[in-house]
Subunit: 148 residues, 4 copies
């Protein structure tokens, strides 16, 4: 699959915002792909992200899924816009295991006010084998960036 | 409001499981109340849990909500049972700001196989003022604890 | 429980809109209460609303829940506003049985653009016994009524 | 797209169950495709299914989506199994307009106990033009058919 790239300006906008998310760096997550309407975020498996059985916690899985969807939406808007999560729903399909998780946010329906994204999270083994471990749907609202 | 307490055995079971959640300690979250069918988890506001505007990230808000619901369900089952999150949906109602967040998981409908919880997260100011910042609904499945 | 009533103008606005919903009359649903931020809709059990086991179909249960939430939001806005459902999530907790269903939509968080409602549906027996059969959460958007 | 067909026995099982859903016939819905893990249901636009603006009501849209997902799951199980909806979440993306709606339920993750489906509903014009008007996600539980 060819992965279309966004403009350098959009890339920079997404990266700058991502770098401001204290939670993402605290979890050890990183941006892995920024395409138009599609963003991937990778989270290495490590003890700091686990639930009681040693799998990655639904909260960590959701956190990268939520950010991936938000940034997927952001790629479609101009520099005066920001997006906020209105709500999301996520099914945890399988134990979130593997070398790392990869969350993919994809815009299903962009809109002037509301945007809806599909959220997918894969557990990826060291040998590259992938398994869908979570699947969700997210609603976002576009707001005007306020001067600081 | 009187907050009913669970038995010492249930308290211990919930605390022991919580202590195994690497994500909870990594975020700085702690158990604040364990009642029958109702668990509270507190998350102090700190830079490690933020999104790009400095509010607490939806992923961190969700993580404590998800754990609170899961442990609320666990209080109703015997020591041979564990609960796993099937899915949840959460609305982020207001920016998650304050001195700390308090997530409250409450069992709406317990079941032999599936349990449904209400998830509420409040932003609490240093003076004690509270505001509902997120509200959700969660489905959990009871599984038999496997010997290790 | 005292059930606060809304103004006659709001009552009329909700009733007029409800009467335009072909689905509600086709299902045999009726408005049972219009309070500020809270609307009840009743659906008698009948073969036209069933699923394959003779219980009321999740789609019919959801339809009255969705309308109840929408009208609960509408009671809080002026006559120039309409509300549309953005999304909802609903858990079917028990078979929807009884003499009739009563859906209750309650505004959890009103907003200038988005409003979030709690949706509850009770199965009510002929003797008045009630059981929660579905519980959900809904996001609505306010739009300006367009001239016709 | 080739649409794989299921066995005659599965087709019959799905059709027999569908025919027992009073709501589906009352709405005028019909089965349009039964494939392995994928079922389509069509609902002609008509006044009996509308909301207050003349579009198809979210409840009717959801009803066919919910049934499509349930039957998609049912195609994967043996004749001793039935499926019940645990919960679903649906986003109404655009006004549900057109000559008819087509709901497509697709199994994302089958399971011994729980199955998760994707729900899509398209508005289809008389000339065949299609638009995604609703998108959702559903959790189902498999139960053993009880003798009657």
């Amino acid at each position: 699959m060819r992965q279309e790239q966004t403009s350098p300006a959009v890339q920079k906008r997404v990266k700058d915002s991502f770098d401001l998310q204290g939670l993402m760096s605290h979890l050890g997550a990183r941006l892995a792909h920024i395409g138009p309407g599609r963003v991937h975020i990778v989270l290495p498996a490590r003890p700091e992200a686990t639930q009681q059985h040693g799998y990655i916690h639904a909260g960590a899985t959701s956190a990268i899924a939520d950010s991936a969807g938000g940034y997927a939406a952001l790629t479609l808007f101009d520099g005066e816009s920001e997006v906020l999560t209105v709500e999301y729903k996520i099914n945890l399909l399988s134990p979130a295991a593997g070398d790392h998780l990869e969350a993919i946010g994809t815009v299903l329906k962009p809109g002037r006010t509301l945007t809806v994204c599909r959220l997918e999270v894969y557990g990826v083994q060291a040998d590259g084998a992938r398994k869908l471990v979570a699947n969700g749907q997210q609603t976002l609202i576009r707001v005007h960036r306020t001067a600081e």
